[in-house]
């Protein structure tokens, strides 16, 4: 077993008098898809925002590649190689795929001492990266708005990988998608994992988690129930842990086990 790329130890995060995270310890390994499950309000978002530099933990230690890290803002985390793809905020619909792909990392070429956006290079890279991910574009100038939700997530993931992410955090990438689009995104996650990148997959859908996850951590009310590897746990157990055990079991009975 390799060393973890990120180790989060005893992370606590308080917002005023509210304790959002109360001592969470998780390790993430390269080349694995680590699913972070939990119901709404369980602390998933706070946890990943702590990891990606948006929030500073009130207590606890973040170790990245064995070194302790203190991210001042998201740019620090991005520079270190921790990329986050947010569900709705991944792409700008009115801009072309190529402009979106290079947003914040625009390639420049010098003409007469001045820097210009190298559109040719940007377009070539975008087309080839999209092909790798299985998205056929009409052209690199096609607006992102014309892509489906799943394709947008895929473009965002491809972008993060292209710019050297070592850890890829996906914030509920499948929650707003249809069945086929979800399958596409899950396939993308699988490709990314095979490139040796640590994927952190946030979801509250146990079936999506089971489809790609290597490890599962359930958060509930700011605490973790520990981490289980694939095969050590059944979907039913995960579901129960997310709900805190009791209520859902009775609900599930009346709904015929379909939740």
């Amino acid at each position: 077993m390799t060393d973890p790329i990120i180790r989060m130890t005893d992370i606590e995060k308080h917002f005023g008098s509210v304790i959002a995270l109360n001592g969470v310890t998780v390790e993430f390994y390269p080349g694995e898809c680590h699913c972070l499950l939990g119901d709404n309000g369980a602390g998933k978002s706070t946890f990943i925002k702590t990891m990606s530099g948006v929030h500073k933990p009130t207590k606890g230690k973040i170790e990245f590649e064995g070194k302790e890290m203190n991210f001042a803002d998201p740019r620090d985390a991005i520079a270190a190689g921790i990329a986050t793809v947010y569900q709705d905020l991944a792409m700008i619909p009115l801009m072309s795929v190529s402009r979106n792909f290079f947003m914040g990392n625009e390639p420049v070429k010098k003409v007469a001492g001045m820097s210009f956006f190298d559109h040719e290079h940007a377009n070539d890279v975008t087309m080839s990266e999209m092909k790798k991910m299985g998205i056929n574009l009409r052209g690199p100038d096609q607006a992102v708005g014309t892509l489906s939700g799943g394709e947008r997530q895929t473009v965002a993931i491809a972008r993060a990988v292209h710019f050297g992410a070592k850890v890829l955090i996906l914030d509920e990438p499948t929650s707003a998608l249809g069945v086929r689009q979800t399958a596409n995104v899950l396939a993308t996650v699988d490709k990314v994992r095979k490139q040796g990148i640590a994927v952190v997959f946030i979801t509250h859908n146990v079936r999506h988690a089971m489809a790609v996850g290597d490890r599962f951590t359930v958060l509930n009310r700011g605490k973790t129930f520990g981490t289980a590897s694939r095969g050590e746990i059944t979907p039913e157990q995960l579901q129960d842990m997310m709900a805190g055990g009791e209520e859902l079991a009775t609900l599930e009975g009346s709904l015929g086990g379909t939740v």
Partner: protein
């Protein structure tokens, strides 16, 4: 991944018309052709297309262009500036106060005015990004504050609201000609001598051509169009402008310094307004408290008709510049054609409405919404 390839058959080839329609400049291009065709057919003999006439509407178009370019880049970055008109009046008055009332050399008056106005632009931007308030409200406040000062300051110092004598004060100055001079005067004298353009036949200007050069105002307008267009479409900063206006939060997550981009665009808008003001006071030789009224709306109208979306993230400098050209031609064309000039405002209102309706449709086409 076969799903994605199967999707291919569902991507229909885009028709040439649709492809052209989603270019933001289209409206401006069609409008320019239409307006020129119209006036060439109906007002050709009115003197609108001889040297004097061309210069006449070119100057008006250039004025529209200068403020439209600032408003255009700012709107694409997702913000408005309603204080442009007041800024024009304020900047002109500052030059008059510094240069005439206080008797500073003109170059110093111009530079200090630029610094003050750009600082006001920066303040607008800073307040907008720090408070998160709509720029509509923040700059509406600036509109009133600046207009108030533009009336108060000359009233207090000179007991009048128009300060003249600027042309005389600018005589021999090294900086003032960059805004007030004319270029290619020798070439136009030659054209006059050759009989290509008319010459004055009596008076103290006898023998001089009726058009004696290209005003620097037009040079500034064209220069700003080229600068704005290249900045927006060909640079990394241009991509940030689009990103900041398209979705500020998404842009921030991607590492774009959104606040800096917005503040810089507010400063650029103020810069454009000041260029307009300096050219105007150099041309008129005076500064007035009522200069620039309604200019902010004319700028915004030009930008919107030029294909930019009010909500930001999409637009074109070329489109805005073409519409500014149309405005100049129509405003002066109505004058040449002896049509009541107040109808120009009716024209503005009507095409604004059409353009906005068309834009909404185009936006749906780009983003594929239904």
């Amino acid at each position: 991944m076969s799903d994605a390839t199967n999707d291919d058959e569902r991507i229909k080839e885009m028709s040439g018309l649709r492809r052209a329609l989603i270019r933001p400049e289209l409206g401006g291009m069609v409008g320019t052709v239409a307006v020129f065709t119209f006036f060439l057919l109906f007002a050709f003999d009115s003197g609108m297309f001889n040297a004097q006439g061309v210069l006449n509407w070119s100057v008006v178009s250039a004025q529209f262009m200068i403020i439209a370019i600032g408003a255009c880049l700012l709107m694409i970055a997702g913000e408005f500036d309603l204080s442009v008109g007041s800024m024009i009046g304020f900047a002109g008055m500052m030059i008059a106060v510094f240069g005439i009332t206080l008797g500073w050399p003109m170059w110093m008056a111009i530079i200090v005015t630029f610094v003050i106005c750009i600082a006001f632009g920066a303040l607008n931007g800073y307040i907008v990004v720090r408070t998160g308030l709509p720029s509509f409200i923040v700059t509406l406040a600036t509109l009133f504050i600046l207009r108030g000062f533009t009336i108060f300051i000359p009233q207090t110092l000179e007991r009048k609201t128009i300060i003249g004598g600027i042309r005389e004060a600018a005589e021999g100055d090294w900086l003032a000609p960059i805004f007030g001079a004319k270029i290619f005067t020798g070439f136009f004298q030659w054209l006059g001598d050759m009989g290509v353009i008319g010459v004055f036949t009596r008076g103290n200007l006898e023998g001089k051509p009726v058009v004696d050069g290209i005003p620097m105002l037009i040079v500034w307008a064209l220069g700003l169009v080229v600068f704005g267009h290249i900045l927006l479409t060909r640079t990394r900063f241009g991509n940030w402008i689009f990103a900041a206006g398209g979705d500020a939060q998404a842009a921030r997550y991607a590492g774009v310094p959104v606040d800096r981009v917005k503040i810089l665009m507010f400063m650029f808008t103020a810069f454009c307004a000041t260029v307009f003001a300096v050219c105007q006071v150099m041309e008129f030789g005076s500064a007035g408290s009522d200069r620039g009224i309604l200019k902010e709306f004319e700028a915004i109208i030009a930008v919107v008709i030029g294909g930019a979306l009010l909500t930001g993230g999409y637009g074109s400098v070329i489109g805005a510049a073409l519409v500014a050209l149309i405005f100049g031609v129509v405003q002066q064309g109505l004058f040449f054609a002896n049509v009541e000039s107040s109808l120009f405002r009716v024209f503005l209102g009507v095409i604004l409405l059409f353009a906005v309706i068309l834009n909404t449709y185009i936006r749906r086409m780009i983003t594929g919404e239904r």
